[in-house]
Symmetry: C2
Subunit: 282 residues, 2 copies
């Protein structure tokens, strides 16, 4: 059978992978969920037709969104992940021995259940005894927290659909209020190839909650634009060159994307992206 899975971005770009079979196709309370077995990238999870994770390249996204803030924060103990129901971000965070508690707040319980079933390696961190899984709305959940978190990871879908509120100015204010004074937020912040309008709005909204922010990039082949960005934000200055090299040494075995030099290098974002978001220094 000549079977292809295709993600289509805005009627402009299609990225297709030869597919062996569809393992699951269903509708949750929030979104359409599919799991397909592809030839080039292994097993793939899609939400509302957008690729979220694949077995072969999930490490890029998950290493970048988790270890960079965890290593730049001086001593993270308590971390909240909003979204990230596949468990990949949590799995990477569990590699940090000093982290005492990781709360996952995912709105869609079906995503968590399916990922435990179909992506056991990605989701394995959800079984760690430091992890608490809360199925519910991240926006409401974080409003109850005040000055108590070291890191908040916003591991959301795109700014349309169930993830929309996770890009709002009000939400970033709630994140800032939930963090300790030296706390760090990191959020996926879309592709540098997206329009200046979309990217600028996200960055501007982050400034509603935070005085300091810096974006960094990584390359994800299963996303139609390839290059992706994440943005770190805090209400104290931070410097990506001051990450904890000793802690990096303890977690580096098994990493497939991130290297010691790659942490600061990720902040050397392309000029066209700097110009779009106004981040002129690395």
């Amino acid at each position: 059978m000549n079977l292809w899975y295709t993600e289509q971005e805005a009627e402009l770009i299609k990225l297709s992978f030869r597919t062996e079979k569809v393992l699951f196709s269903g509708q949750s309370e929030f979104q359409k969920i599919d799991v397909v077995e592809t030839v080039p990238y292994g097993r793939l999870l899609t939400l509302d037709g957008c690729t979220m994770v694949s077995d072969h390249d999930e490490f890029v996204y998950h290493e970048m969104i988790s270890h960079i803030p965890a290593l730049i924060h001086k001593n993270p103990k308590r971390v909240l992940v909003i979204g990230g129901g596949d468990g990949g971000t949590v799995t990477e965070l569990t590699k940090h021995a000093g982290i005492e508690e990781i709360i996952l707040c995912e709105i869609d319980g079906m995503v968590v259940d399916l990922c435990k079933q179909y992506f056991p390696n990605v989701a394995r961190g959800l079984n760690d005894k430091r992890v608490k899984v809360n199925i519910g709305d991240g926006i409401a959940f974080i409003k109850k927290m005040k000055g108590e978190l070291d890191i908040v990871v916003v591991d959301s879908t795109d700014p349309i659909g169930p993830g929309e509120g996770l890009f709002s100015r009000d939400f970033y204010k709630s994140v800032a209020a939930a963090l300790k004074p030296d706390g760090i937020m990191v959020a996926q912040s879309e592709s540098p190839w997206f329009s200046k309008e979309i990217l600028g709005r996200i960055q501007n909204n982050i400034l509603g909650g935070f005085t300091h922010k810096k974006s960094y990039v990584g390359a994800i082949p299963t996303y139609p634009r390839g290059l992706w960005s994440w943005t770190m934000a805090a209400n104290v200055p931070f410097d990506q060159r001051d990450f904890d090299r000793a802690r990096f040494g303890k977690i580096k075995t098994g990493l497939k994307y991130l290297t010691e030099g790659g942490i600061t290098a990720a902040f050397e974002i392309p000029m066209f992206f700097r110009e779009k978001i106004g981040q002129l220094e690395g």
Copy 2:
């Protein structure tokens, strides 16, 4: 009309762009050549069905393959570009005031003619008075040169089709012989996501001509894997941190990808690529 241009990689991946019209479709002595006007990435040149350059993102490939060797070389005067018939690499090289002569050796004259017609901005450097265009086989051309070039840029297609010989051990030996003792070669060296076998063979062949080599990466959204690599090689040690910052300051206006920090950052290649090609240090 619902028109899409599609590149298909090895029956595994398809990357498609919504297309407005086909401007040219023909067959040269060497390959099939198409020029299409796409919505997301502007005008696109394809050779044998593989995307070569697009108006919107060509700057990534061309800035990376040209300025990095030109800035790491202490004082380049004479440069040979093999392949690169679109003229984009030459156009970037002309920005270096110290370069006195740029020879382009492209096997397919039809590529040069079509790019002058359809991509005048990319090809504009071909009109610079320091540039000499030679239509012919780069493998034969470089064999006549001995110890006379500062930089050789191998701006080839993939290792199948007309570009195959430009990845061979014998060819890299010829390049080394054509360079001055402190000369530098840079070659496009395919996607880090390609197999260890393909990547390893290219890297191993480069060692047939050179004692020192280092690969670096950049993200190109119109290629089906997104991330791309280039490899610099020389018979003297070189250090990417020792690039000419004063010269960078003179060319940086107008660059859309490369930043001063981005030069060394590009050599901080992902761990999975390091492991495939055995480049364990940055």
